[in-house]
Symmetry: C2
Subunit: 197 residues, 2 copies
């Protein structure tokens, strides 16, 4: 692993845990096992290092979403596939949702500025398809945006609010992961149940 990779990984860990403002360059250097000056040798400054980490994170999420949303399948199939694959992905990257949400809220302008057309989720196709299937009588009449929001809410929230969820439901890491595994199949059924005609 190159030094740059070591730094990047360390930065990912620290930024995801503490956020941009809470992260310390020294802590990242320690985590990477190198000198602090190396951070500035490989990445100009904290902002740019953060930007690299954030864009990588976001560009892992978005294309996956778009691939599913814009495929040739039915809405129900897409819901199944999305909840399955997305939860699968987030189980492997449990800090991503909270990280992205936090930074988007704390620093909307900065985040918006680094999001290009490629790495942005595009729900337009899926939304049109939902309206179509409503007309065809497959789906109950509803606001497609609300449905989309429901899908995201059910899949992403438990991870975004992980600590609170564990605290309120009084479950530990193992039970949490087990619940998320369960959720991979439950959610799609619940959502489809509530919208099919």
């Amino acid at each position: 692993m190159t030094t740059e990779e070591k730094i990047f990984n360390a930065a990912r860990i620290v930024f995801q845990k503490k956020g941009f403002a809470g992260a310390r360059m020294q802590e990242i250097a320690d985590e990477a096992g190198i000198n602090k000056a190396m951070l500035h040798y490989c990445f100009k400054n904290k902002q740019q290092l953060f930007q690299a980490v954030f864009m990588k994170a976001f560009s892992q999420l978005a294309p996956q979403i778009n691939t599913i949303f814009n495929s040739e399948k039915t809405v129900f199939e897409k819901i199944h596939q999305f909840t399955q694959e997305y939860i699968d992905f987030v189980i492997r990257n449990p800090f991503l949702p909270q990280f992205i949400i936090q930074e988007m809220n704390n620093n909307p302008e900065f985040v918006m500025s680094i999001l290009n057309h490629e790495n942005r989720p595009h729900p337009a196709v899926l939304m049109a398809q939902i309206e179509q299937e409503i007309e065809q009588g497959i789906i109950k009449p509803l606001n497609p945006k609300q449905l989309l929001l429901n899908i995201f809410s059910m899949t992403v929230f438990p991870f975004a609010a992980q600590t609170m969820v564990k605290g309120i439901l009084r479950i530990n890491d193992a039970e949490f992961n087990q619940m998320m595994e369960e959720r991979k199949t439950i959610i799609a059924q619940d959502i489809i149940n509530s919208i099919k005609k």
Copy 2:
């Protein structure tokens, strides 16, 4: 408005926007329109000021939840009441969810230490009731924790991830608020639809 109140309100605004780590005492002083030394005159330090703000925030949320969850109504009624009143409350305090979630994730030990028995949500009663109604054949067999998680996800997530939601769905503040108004009735129906036998 007393100086202490001015400080507290300013602190609430700044902390909710930037989080604990990102907030600056100077910014809070400016927001309050007073000298920075006054902050330390009224509140010992940043931590304590933050603690005051956070506890107030949390102790506004939790009792409300408990009152609904532990009332004498049916599960369906509770779901209706909760989504209605909770979204109503959060519309008036749109930064609270993200604020609480963020700080719980960034600083779990600290947050847990300031949460006492009073201001903590207790879903035990509702969970037992759900199991009971499952046995009575009112609700489909399911894991009560998953249902609870669904309810929270659907109501809280849109606010917690506000910036991202607006960005992805390409809606402005007005449209967002309108969607949330809609949601007050939609969500309960969706959830009940998906779990009633």
